[in-house]
């Protein structure tokens, strides 16, 4: 065991921690999805959650921007703090939280609107009315998502005409248009081909200078390629969390080792 993969302790809020999750448990109806999860996520790095299907990694991700508020009959205990403030506290404005914590989904889900309107959607609902300003935001975000060159001639065409990989990059552009601090990605490449996947990965590596990225992935190679930190989850528990390289080479827990070597999961 090396010192490198000592679990990041969330007890004391360190300077580099942006989100800390403390003793969070979560139930869908009577079924427990998360059991006493505690972790810290650092700013401007990529943190990956890995684990077999149904292990709770997506649930955990969706708790960070309170997406699970939309699901009926759920229950949660524990605390999640962002920059030290409890996001489930009574003073939290959910829409402001979601503006600061953007999300990219498993299936590319552009609105059935034009490419321009997809990116402009977020700024518009947050009160940006000036056309010039919107044009500027759209161009900046599309450039940031490596999409501008491909779509600048067809901004007024439907976003549904794009390829899946382009649609997913459009969704990333749409998410960063509201200038979030954190970008949650829920298996963003699971419906994409390898070429499109590698483009998204490049994009993620480029974006981490400005954003904290949390990615849920089935693909361990992807986690190894892009993330600094990895958390391995199993049956609702966080088994192990640490520096990615260390975890893939010398996992501390037997279950982690079984999973990453393909013996289980």
């Amino acid at each position: 065991m090396t010192t490198e993969n000592t679990p990041v302790t969330p007890k004391i809020l360190r300077e580099e921690t942006i989100i800390d999750v403390e003793r969070v448990s979560f139930w869908y109806g009577g079924r427990a999805a998360l059991k006493d999860v505690t972790m810290a996520i650092d700013r401007q790095v990529i943190t990956a959650f890995i684990g077999p299907s149904g292990c709770g990694k997506t649930t955990l991700l969706r708790l960070i921007n309170r997406m699970n508020d939309l699901v009926p009959q759920v229950r949660m205990t524990g605390t999640i703090r962002m920059n030290g403030v409890d996001i489930y506290g009574p003073d939290t404005d959910v829409t402001r939280l979601r503006r600061r914590v953007g999300m990219v989904f498993q299936q590319p889900n552009p609105f059935p609107k034009s490419i321009y309107e997809n990116v402009a959607y977020g700024p518009r609902i947050h009160g940006v009315k000036s056309g010039v300003f919107l044009d500027e935001i759209v161009e900046r975000c599309l450039r940031r998502a490596f999409l501008w060159e491909e779509v600048q001639e067809q901004l007024e065409e439907s976003a549904l005409g794009l390829s899946l990989g382009q649609q997913q990059r459009l969704c990333i552009a749409r998410a960063i248009a509201v200038e979030p601090e954190v970008l949650l990605m829920d298996e963003p490449c699971s419906s994409l081909d390898p070429v499109a996947t590698s483009r998204i990965e490049e994009l993620m590596l480029d974006l981490k200078d400005d954003y904290t990225i949390v990615i849920v992935t089935h693909n361990m190679q992807q986690a190894a390629r892009v993330s600094e930190y990895t958390g391995f989850m199993l049956k609702g528990e966080l088994v192990e969390m640490g520096v990615t390289d260390a975890m893939f080479t010398t996992p501390r827990d037997r279950r982690t080792e079984d999973y990453i070597t393909g013996r289980a999961g």
């Binding site: 997406m67 009926p72 402001r96 953007g102 889900n109 059935p112 609902i125 549904l160």
Partner: protein
């Protein structure tokens, strides 16, 4: 043998056969309606039947029935009877008569036989005799009268107002009958028509069917007031039902908390869809006409009482009754549309910090718009074809006034009105002399069928466009 005919095969042939039978029946029904409905605009040749007993009959054959007879010696034979339309009752005692085919000595198609379509009455069959101006004969004989009529035809509208002008017809038995030009709609000589004039006649008749008021108590003429009334009622109904239906669907699908209350509302909506339409009529009569209408009369029109203003059947009450009837159609269509909006789209919007209302308004509503339109079209199709509740809430067989006209306040919601569906009922089910109404009934049925089918086709088209849109999103 037995093994070759398995139960599966039998079932396949049975269900296939049932399908074919059903299809043939529908096709046959539509064929009958189309043939009868469209055929009647074609000018029919007038035949003169000279009977062995000396009678002469002018008319056109509408049907031929076979009758079995047993002769005095006991041998059986088959005889035929002709049903002949002889035209307006003012010239001949009956509009339709039976002729024994064996009694017909000869028949021909006299060139000078004409049909005079009257503005209000029925069609007169006879021979042109003379053209009179205030009792003075201006032209006499078929050719002269016809030439005179053709010559003046372009200014017929103006001439109509001169009561003095009249056309004199002679009947087959030599009686003279003067028809004031004011009441002449059109005169034509079917036996001299060429193919081209027949086509022109056909188009003209079909056109006037659509745009003219009815005449001769709905036997002839057009159905314009019925089309107008149906359209006005349907528009009024849509204005009422759409906001209610759409809002109810949004509540059920988006805002309502799942639970006993929501279930009760759903059950109520579904039950509403299964209630017989006449029950809606009874409700409309009791609640809208007597209660609401009566209250309105007491409050706003006390001077006219006991003569009711709103307290009797009218287009407003019909529209409201049909709005209730079609409410489930709209709710179900919009709810289906809402259920079809992918969850991912809503989540994407929420994840960008949009509130529930912003998500609904900017993402959900544009996506369900086709569903809302589908609901509208389906409810309109349903409303256009429903008759029973209207019969007791304000539809009449004949009305001289339209619900919208030039007289203040232009829209007359309290007026009774004509309706295409009721027009069919009125013309198709007369206890006596019914066959004079039947051609009209067929044509109106065809028209209503065409309207309802095209509305449904539009709804189906919209829905498939909607589906295509989603399949792109899911690809």
């Amino acid at each position: 043998m037995g093994s070759k005919w398995s139960k599966d095969d039998a079932l396949i042939w049975l269900s296939g056969g049932a399908l074919v039978l059903g299809f043939l029946m529908v096709a046959g029904l539509i064929l009958v309606i189309v043939v009868h409905g469209l055929g009647r605009f074609w000018p029919q040749e007038l035949t003169r039947y000279v009977m062995h007993d000396g009678r002469v009959v002018l008319g056109h054959e509408t049907s031929r029935a076979s009758v079995r007879t047993t002769g005095s010696t006991g041998e059986r034979s088959r005889a035929y009877r002709l049903r002949v339309r002889t035209g307006d009752r003012r010239l001949y005692p009956q509009e339709y008569i039976w002729l024994e085919e064996s009694g017909v000595a000869g028949r021909d198609a006299p060139r000078e036989a004409v049909v005079v379509e009257q503005v209000r009455g029925g069609d007169l069959f006879g021979y042109l005799d003379s053209f009179e101006d205030d009792g003075v004969v201006v032209a006499r004989g078929y050719d002269a009268v016809w030439a005179h009529y053709r010559e003046r035809y372009p200014e017929l509208e103006r001439l109509r107002r001169q009561q003095a002008l009249s056309i004199v017809l002679t009947s087959t038995d030599g009686r003279r009958h003067a028809v004031s030009l004011a009441s002449v709609q059109r005169i034509y000589a079917p036996n001299t028509m060429t193919a081209w004039t027949s086509v022109r006649h056909y188009v003209g008749s079909a056109w006037s069917y659509l745009w003219a008021p009815p005449r001769d108590e709905n036997r002839l003429g057009g159905v314009y007031p019925a089309i107008f009334g149906t359209a006005a009622m349907v528009i009024l109904m849509s204005v009422v039902v759409m906001p209610f239906g759409v809002l109810a669907a949004f509540y059920l699908r988006e805002y309502g908390r799942p639970g006993p209350f929501l279930n009760a509302v759903r059950i109520a909506v579904n039950s509403l869809a299964g209630v017989p339409s006449i029950v809606f009529g009874v409700f409309g009569l009791g609640f809208f006409v007597y209660f609401l209408g009566g209250t309105l009369d007491r409050l706003f029109f006390p001077a006219d009482l006991p003569e009711p203003t709103f307290g009797r059947g009218g287009i407003l009450w019909c529209s409201l009754t049909l709005a209730l009837l079609t409410l489930p159609v709209v709710i179900v269509a919009v709810e289906e549309g809402l259920a079809g909006v992918p969850r991912e789209l809503r989540e994407a919007s929420h994840a960008l910090g949009a509130t529930r209302f912003e998500t609904l308004w900017r993402v959900v509503v544009p996506v369900v718009l086709p569903s809302i339109l589908t609901g509208l079209i389906l409810s309109v199709a349903r409303a256009a074809g429903t008759v029973a509740p209207l019969m007791i809430t304000g539809v009449v067989a004949f009305s001289a006034e339209l619900p919208v006209d030039g007289a203040w306040p232009f829209v007359h919601l309290e007026r009774e009105f004509m309706h295409l569906g009721f027009h069919i009922f009125d013309t198709g089910f007369r206890p006596d002399g019914g066959e004079a109404f039947l051609p009209m009934s067929y044509t109106s049925t065809l028209l209503l069928l065409a309207i309802v089918v095209s509305l449904n086709a539009a709804a189906i088209g919209l829905r498939s466009r909607l589906r295509r849109r989603y399949s792109v999103a899911a690809a």
